[in-house]
Amino acid sequence: MRAVPFPGDPPITPQLVRDHHLTDEEYGCIEALLGRAPTFAELGVFSALWSEHCSYKHSRPILKTFPTAGPQVVQGPGENAGVLRLPDGWAVAFKIESHNHPSAVEPYQGAATGVGGILRDVFTMGARPVALLNSLRFGPLEEARNRYLCAGVVRGVGDYGNCVGVPTLGGEVDFGPGYGGNPLVNAMCVGLLREADLITAAARGVGNVLLVVGSRTGRDGIHGASFASEELTHESERRRPQVQVGDPFTEKLLLEASLELIASGHIVAIQDMGAAGLTSSSAEMAARGGVGVEIDLSRVPTREPGMTPYEILLSESQERMLVVAKADRVTDVQAIAAKWELAATPIGRVTDDGLYRATWKEQVVVAIPGQRLIDDCPVYTPVAREDEAIVRLRAAAPPASHLPPPDEVLLQLLDHPAIASKRWVYEQYDSTVQASTVIAPGGDAGVIRVRGAEFGIAVTTDCNSRYVALDPYEGGKAAVAEAARNVACTGARPLGITDCLNFGSPERPAVFYQFREACRGIADACRALETPVTGGNVSFYNESPTGAVAPTPVIGMVGVLARADRAVPSHARTPGDVVLVAGVTRSELGGSALWEALHGFVGGTPPRVDLVAERRLVDLLVAGAERALFRSAHDCSQGGLGVALAEVAMGGPYDETGFGLDVDLSAYGLRLTALDLLFSESHGRAVITAAPERAAAVVALAQELGVPIERVGSVGEQGGAVRVRLRDARVEHPVDRLREVYFSGLPRRMGD
C-alpha cells in the first residue's frame, strides 16, 4: 500500500521543500529512495530526520574519530545516554543536550524543557536520575536583554529539576559578546542503575505494541528539530507560538512510571519523544531494532481538535514516551501508567516488512523503508579553513598600558563575571534533594554518595571558549583536561565524558575548522586520560544576525571515588595546614581572564595542555585523596594561581568567613613577572592544603608520580588576611574583603 496525501495537504513544491530546510539534492535522494514524490507528511518526516539536529549530517565523520571504548564502557554512543561501569554491579548513565534555540526565544520554557528532555534520556535507560548539571552562556550582563535571558533560563532550569526532585550538582556560567543573540543552554543528567537492569531503545518482536505514555499531543514546537538547525533571525522570532511548555509534575510521574515499567518486564524498549517527537522516536527505535513499525496516527491522544497527521508526527509536546510493550502485556502497561495517573495508548505495532508506516485509520500517509530513512541521509564533509583573523589574533598582545598593582587586579578578577561566584545561580537549584550530596555546587565538582555502597560519583561540566576560539585544538584538549582536574580534585578517578558541541554554521569553513580541530583536541585528551566519549550532542547554527557564538564544546565528565566519605573539598579548612602548589606555572596569558578583565582583550596564544603532565596530576589527586592525605584540593583555571589561592582561602559559599593564607611565591616560578605568576592560566596545576604532619607524604607522593610540587605557605586564622609575597610585589587583603567582592559580583549585575 502506498502513501497518499491527506485531505488538505499542500502540494509538494520547490518552495515547500526549501521551507523544510531540504536542499534540492536531498530532495532528489528522497524521490530516489521512495521511487516517487513524497507526501506532505513524508516530507515532514524527512525534514525532521534529515535535519542536522537528528542526522548529524555535518558532524558524523568527525564524531567517529572519538575514542569510545574502554573496560568501563557498558554503552557507548548511539543510545539515549552512555553508560559506564561502577563498582559493585552499579552503572552510571549520563548525557548532555543543548536547548539553545528554544531558550533564545523563551528562556524559561526553553531551559525547563531542556532539563525535561535530558532527564528522559537518562531514565529511559532504566537509570534513576541522581544529578543534574547545566552549562550556560549569555551575552554581557550590562544589557537588559541578557539579564532577562539569564534570569529566565536559571529559573527554568531550577523549577524543572527542583520539581522532579533531582539535585543540581554543578555546571558553569560564562559570558561573552558572541552569546548575546544566541545564548547557550546545555543540560546534563546523570543516572544510577544496576548494570543488569540496563534497557535500550531498540524495537523488537513482530506484533509487539507501540504505546504513547504521558501527555497529550498538541501543536507545540512543530519543526523544533529543523528550527534548531537554523540561524536565529526575525523569522524565528515570529515562530514563537510554537514554544513548548514543560510540565515537571507530569515528568516526575513519567519518571516513576517508566522505571516501574522497565522493572516489570512488560516492555522491550522505551524512548523519549524528544526533538521531532513521534517521528524520530519511532523511526529510530525501529531502525535500531532492524524492524518495521506501523502507527495509526488517529489513535494518538491530542490536546487540540483537528490535528493533521503531519502535525501529530512532528509535534514536540513534552513529557511523552514511546514504549514497545510485549503483545500480551498491554493492559499491564496501562495499569502501571494509570497508577501514576498517566494515559498509555496503543498506537501501533512492530512489523516484519521493514517499512516505517503511518496511517490515519485505514489510509496510509507515510510509507518509507525504515532503515534507509535513517541511513540514507546524506553526509557532508564541509570545507575547513582557519580564519586569518584568528591567526593574527593569536599572535597579538594586549595594548601596553599602565597596569594596576596585583592586589587590585586580584579584586577585579574576583569580580569578573566569568570568575565571580555563581552562588546566585546555584542557590536557585535544589542541590540536596535525595539526601546524598557530599559536595554541593561551589566546589570543583559535585559529589554524591550511593546509598548502601562505599563509592561516590563526581560530576562536572567545563569549557573555556576563549581558548577554543583562539586555538580550537588546544581549547578542545583544555576542556577535557579541566573537567578531569575538577573531578580529580574531589578525589575521583575520571571515567568518561559526554560532550555538547556548540558551534556556528558548519557550512562556513572557519566554523567547520574550529569544530574539526576542537574535536581532534577532545579525542586526543580523552585518549590520554582514558576517558572515552559515551555520547553527546552537536548544536550547530548558533548564530544570530550579530554573528556566531564562540566555539563552545562543553565537556560533561563523570568520575568515581573509591570512598565517598573521603571526598576532598576545594577550600581550606584548618589553620596551620600547609599550602602546596602542584604543577608548573608558565607565562601563558593568551585568552586569560586577566587580559579580558583589564584590557577587554581576548587574544594571544592560549595555554598549551601537556596531556602527560595532566595525567600525572590526576593520578596525584586521586591517590592522595584515597590515602586521605589532603585537607583540600582546588585546580587553577581562569584567573590562575592568584584566583585559585583566593578561592581556597574564601571557603564555602555559606561559611561565615574564610581563612587567612600566608603564601610566599618568591622562590616559585623564578623567571616570571608577578602578573604572570599570579594570573597566567597554565594547565596542570592545583593548590593543595594538607595537615602539617602529612605534608611530607604529599611531597613524596608527588615526586613518585612525577608531579612538580612546592610548599608555598600555610593556612591562617579564620577571618584572617590573605597574604601572598612575590619577589617584586605583594598582595594582601582581609579574606572577608575577598568574599564580599567574589560573592556580590553576580547578584549586583543581576540587580538583586
Binding site: 526565544v105 507545540d220 510540565d247 509534575f249 507530569t250
Partner: protein, 85 residues
C-alpha cells in the same frame, strides 16, 4: 493629572499547554465537580497610574503590558482602566 486604576488579566495563550489549569481541572473533578472543563490559570495585576486622560492611561498600561507584564511569547493580556475617585 488624575489617578487611574488599571486591571490586567494575563492568560496563557490558548494553544499552549497549561499544566496548572490541567491540575486544577483534575482536582475539581476529584472533588466532585465533574462538569468543570476548560480550566486556565493566569495572572491578575492591579495597579495605579497617573495620567492626564483615560486614553493616556490606557496607552501607558498597554506599553507596560507589552514591555513587562505579559510575556508576548506565551501569554495574552486584557486591560481595563478606570478613574479612581
Amino acid at each position: 493629572m488624575s489617578r487611574y486604576r488599571v486591571q490586567v488579566r494575563v492568560m496563557p495563550r490558548a494553544a499552549l499547554l497549561d499544566p496548572q489549569g490541567q491540575a486544577v481541572e483534575h482536582a475539581l473533578h476529584a472533588l466532585g465537580f465533574g462538569d468543570v472543563a476548560q480550566v486556565r490559570v493566569g495572572k491578575h495585576l492591579v495597579l495605579e497610574v497617573k495620567a492626564a486622560t483615560q486614553e493616556e492611561a490606557v496607552a501607558q498600561a498597554r506599553t507596560m503590558c507589552d514591555r513587562l507584564l505579559a510575556n508576548p511569547v506565551t501569554e495574552d493580556y486584557e486591560l481595563a482602566v478606570e478613574a479612581t475617585r
